[in-house]
């Protein structure tokens, strides 16, 4: 097998134990609730029969290994249990809500890259004015809490100007235009902070790369500056950007949890917040697991992309 194939295989294999450990962690959430989780879930009005039924459903009357085995078995079949308030299946709920969260985070990431990378290059190559402007953007983007920024954007663009709806959601597939109107403010909110991190990384990486001998060589050969910067230097400088994007995706997912609540988007984030408030533990477990698994997959993709961008990584680790 080629080093590339071996590297990919090894990296995928590494994700498996992490995923397994994650399932144990999530499994423990409900078991670690102090007192009786079923009583906490159902409240004071629950009849003993109700409590006994749910305890049996959740297999809380069996030993932990047996419980875990049964739960993991269900997981493999895509069965995450039942929402004890709406009686819907948790996997069904997640299936409805995951696309919203994915749309929010991926659009934000795309927008952040579109803004952050060019601005980072400008920051590394431009004059004083552009350095100052990009530095201001970075400080603002990093220090302003994203959900607060969201509320301010609602004030300006929804309340004052009336250009966009403040909260709500329409399906991307059935009402694409409406969907974009609803998603614009949340996506921009999440993207600004993200763009600031990408800008900062791009700037540092570009500054470092532009000082390398190969850049001097390309310039000496008479290549146009635009080509030196964007075609040659940026590709070399893109490795740390990929790393930061991978790490930042976790921040983005966390941000999405809060932003979905601010903008009333029916995503997994809003689901988990509501579920925690209602002590709806099966839903909490399902959503935590899905978000965490998503992050593991993104990290996996980042690493594979990293190897593709820098063949030396594959060569070293793929042996």
């Amino acid at each position: 097998m080629s080093p590339r194939g071996r590297y990919a295989l090894r990296r995928v294999a590494l994700a498996v134990p992490t995923l397994l450990a994650m399932t144990i962690f999530v499994f423990l959430i409900i078991r670690l609730v102090p007192g009786d989780p079923v009583r906490t879930m159902l409240g004071f009005r629950a009849t003993p029969e109700n409590v006994a039924t749910i305890r049996h459903d959740l297999r809380l009357d069996e030993s932990w290994p047996a419980q875990y085995g049964a739960w993991l078995g269900g997981l493999v079949r895509g069965d995450l249990g039942e929402d004890y308030i709406s009686h819907a299946s948790v996997s069904g709920l997640l299936g409805q809500r995951l696309p919203v969260t994915l749309e929010l985070t991926l659009f934000s990431l795309a927008l952040a890259l579109l803004v952050g990378v060019p601005l980072g290059v400008v920051a590394a190559t431009g004059g004083r004015a552009s350095r100052w402007l990009t530095a201001t953007f970075t400080i603002g983007g990093i220090s302003i809490p994203d959900f607060w920024l969201g509320t301010l954007l609602v004030l300006v663009f929804a309340a004052k100007l009336g250009w966009l709806p403040p909260t709500g959601y329409a399906s991307l597939f059935h009402h694409p235009v409406e969907n974009l109107r609803y998603m614009t403010l949340p996506v921009v909110t999440l993207a600004i902070g993200e763009a600031a991190y990408i800008l900062r990384t791009t700037r540092a990486s570009m500054q470092e790369t532009l000082g390398r001998p190969f850049v001097t060589f390309l310039r000496a050969r008479g290549l146009r500056e635009r080509s030196v910067v964007y075609r040659h230097a940026l590709r070399t400088a893109s490795l740390p950007i990929v790393t930061v994007v991978g790490i930042q995706f976790g921040v983005l997912l966390g941000g999405a949890i809060v932003i979905e609540t601010v903008f009333g988007l029916p995503g997994v984030g809003k689901l988990v917040v509501t579920a925690i408030n209602q002590r709806n533990y099966t839903v909490v477990q399902g959503s935590v697991l899905v978000i965490a698994a998503l992050f593991i997959v993104v990290n996996l993709v980042t690493d594979l992309l990293y190897g593709w961008l820098d063949p030396r990584v594959e060569a070293r680790l793929g042996r």
């Binding site: 809490p145 607060w148 509320t151 966390g254 965490a292």
Partner: protein, 288 residues
Amino acid sequence: MTETALELPRRRSLPRLRGRVGREAGVGLGLLAVLGLLAVLAPVLAPHSPEAIDQHRVLGGLTWAHPFGSDALGRDVLSRVLFAFRASLSISLGAVAIALAVGIPIGVAAGYFGRALDAVLMRPIDLLLAFPALLLALSLIAITGPGQLVTMFAIAAIYLPILARVVRSSTLAVASEAYVEGARARGASHLRTIVQHVVPNAIGPALVQASVLCGFALQIEAALAFIGLGAQPPTPSLGLMLFDGYQVLEQAPWADVFPGLAIAITVVAFNLVGDGLRARLDPRGITR
């Protein structure tokens, strides 16, 4: 073998902070000093009681008596910001302190002893890092229920793996230095070597990271309170103020703007200090 034959230059006992820290860090330190004073002196400085309800001043604008205006219950926003900032800052400092207190020993032990202990200590740490930060906090809150103290431990749980990783990296670098080997050769115990030589030289990057994290803790605390899973009313919290302010955003933007600014300014201050310290305390660039 005599002691003198192997006498090595004494290592400094603490990272040195003397000398120029740079203009930005100076600004950051100045800001932090002011913010710290505001937090400590909040009960003295607040012009009104943060709980005092004045029905004649519901959503009242900015006046000399109420420079930050009043909120939906007619409470003085300036006084509330001061008290909430004090509470939120305590939580954030507490969280970072807990994370340092647990993270430094783990990181130092893993980096210094390496091998099996490294694997045993760092696997769980890596698992924590595999969680999106806020999700980790939410999982803990799901178990215990929301509250101010839980928020502090939840933030500490987010920061612990980050700081442990940083300490481990710097310990790895320090442990191979000649003075560590020298201390061992002179017959110093592992514990003595760690306390006298490894920790003082390996702790710098963690302090840099910690100062930056202090600022962000304020953001996390506010976010958790905002979504109803952090501090609960009537506990003072900047996040709760932002939630209340959001409800009256159109009529009284000041109730939303000032608590938000308090967070943003604090994050900037901690970041400036962190960047300034990095030049002095993290020459290897571990936290970059």
